[in-house]
Symmetry: C2
Subunit: 349 residues, 2 copies
């Protein structure tokens, strides 16, 4: 870490002193960048994930082009179920599809036990190559979906409005749900440990679908497995970020789950959350991604609102409240980064 030329992000994760608030952007290696689309034109999405040279190239693009303070490895949360044997179809625009979703005990038996250092070696190779090419300019983040979010995709099989199938599973066969969640947790812990071993400076766990659950169900089917994973990850001082989109409750429990940082969506008030979680965790977020459709002066005002909401002191990593949208103008993303750099200094004097 001491070799990193810019370690603002890692210091903020640990609530250490920083001169300004660091920023990275969820889905920063993505379709809004013409340079990304140029690579994507040559290879399909999964091929990009599985080709370390391509994954490294698009991972580093936003560092070069946008000027973010951290890179996040280009990959997808569904590489784990795919490695466990589920056939995955990635249809641009339509979202990922598992044509054979997991619904029964027999379906679940088909899920292979995997060793991420073997079946997901391509991800670790992409980490190593990205680290080399990044040349210590900024830290590299690795990520995984949470067990609950992976289960949701594996059971629904495709996009869903009401998540009927995964809800039926947890209500009518909670034992099977817990068995799969437990298996996923062990795999994810191994996977994130291997990513850190390969060079990642931090890891983020995405719980995209935590917010579809009631408060009790979230604790039982999502949070307890995230806790388990974090306790199992082999790491030195690499921070863990937990981002549970749409989960506005249980903040005190989330602050005690072992994560160093909680990611928050744009419906949360950083100031209020900070009062609840106190000094237990840093906070990451939380500008509404659609603000990047606005004119520059509005973006600047909105950046200031987020910075002001967190207030003075350490432990804030600027980000959007969800991924950057594919039709956003890259100039607006550059402006966002510049505004955060400029406007945040006064909160750290």
């Amino acid at each position: 870490m001491s070799q990193l030329k810019n370690d603002l992000f890692l210091r903020a994760c640990k609530r250490q002193n920083v001169e300004r608030t660091p920023i990275w952007i969820m889905r920063q290696a993505g379709r809004y960048l013409p340079e990304y689309r140029a690579v994507r034109a040559k290879a399909d999405f999964l091929t990009m994930c599985k080709t370390p040279e391509l994954a490294a190239e698009v991972t580093i693009q936003p560092v070069d082009i946008i000027g973010v303070d951290a890179a996040i490895l280009f990959s997808d949360i569904l590489v784990i179920p795919e490695a466990m044997g589920m056939h995955l179809e990635m249809n641009e625009g339509k979202g990922p599809v598992f044509p054979n979703p997991i619904r029964t005990v027999d379906d679940a038996k088909l899920l292979k036990n995997i060793d991420p250092t073997k079946e997901l070696k391509y991800v670790l190779d992409a980490v190593s190559l990205t680290k080399k090419n990044l040349d210590n300019r900024v830290p590299l983040i690795g990520f995984s979906g949470s067990p609950w979010t992976l289960l949701t995709y594996m059971v629904e099989g495709k996009g869903s409005k009401n998540f009927a199938e995964v809800k039926k599973l947890i209500y009518n066969n909670p034992e099977l749900a817990h068995a799969i969640l437990d298996k996923l947790s062990n795999t994810i812990a191994d996977y994130l440990s291997a990513k850190i071993e390969a060079g990642c400076n931090a890891v983020q766990i995405f719980d995209t679908w935590g917010g579809i659950l009631s408060q009790n169900d979230f604790e039982e089917f999502s949070l307890r497995y995230v806790e388990k994973i974090i306790s199992q990850i082999k790491r030195k001082d690499e921070p863990v970020i937990f981002f549970a989109k749409g989960v506005h409750f249980g903040l005190e429990k989330m602050a005690n789950c072992g994560a160093n940082v909680l990611g928050l969506d744009w419906t949360m008030n950083l100031n209020e959350v900070r009062k609840v979680v106190e000094d237990k965790v840093a906070l990451q977020g939380n500008l509404d991604p659609t603000v990047l459709y606005a004119k520059k002066d509005y973006i600047k005002k909105a950046v200031n609102n987020v910075l002001k909401s967190f207030g003075r002191g350490n432990g804030h990593i600027f980000n959007l409240g969800h991924g950057v949208l594919p039709d956003i103008d890259p100039e607006n993303v550059k402006a966002l980064v510049k505004y955060v750099e400029e406007e945040s200094k006064k909160y750290h004097e």
Copy 2:
């Protein structure tokens, strides 16, 4: 009101004593009922809305079949923009579409000023007929979308994932957004006043899309207009229910918006909300609609969890946290009503 044979719902709205917790179900007059589908087979959705005999028939079905404690007039929130001149297409399964959405000042100029007692007379006729046919068995609820939710549909024109168009409008042309919201507010206040005049015993304002906004934007673009409407509705003691789906913040402000009841989705904790809002409002909700996919003993347990979460005392109306889903077994809905009737008595002894 004194003539009503069952006024549990109205008493609960006013936090008066009840022997048991009343229940009604959002979208209770809907596709999960074979009797509804039989009517729907003879007429398209908008024709049903515009034909008082058909609207009254399906409105009363869940009172007869399911045994709920209130009827809610079968209609749609989009009849207002349609009456204002927007062409509306209702495609079963695909959701409603406005082929000519409102995006510019010139688009907005095409919106007619309407008098709901004229352009929406068919709704008021449906209220009168339903009241007559209900024969005072249970109260009748009328409803409207909130200005923000109507604006969202009118600007997006069709289903949306990120609500880019309406967000662009509020960021880049807030004056136009406010002008349309103001116009909608006056129309909605007139509309709900007319529904009460025609016989509705209570009204509910649905803010389906309030939850896509940040906290500041929700106050500026949604809540202030709901307050304005409630202050303008002509009513004697007919309660107003405000249901803002996905809005987990600003509860104190919502409790002071003039509504008698706040509707809550299933991610909220009734007990915690009750502590915040104290005795200012009654609470309505909030069982996860997907629980009706579960086996009966699980439904019973989940009913008890909701009742227990609210706890002893008055001011709770049982409901789902969102509409009943179209593929739910009506037997499970009947069981839900029975469990609420039986299990809630002990909270009112």
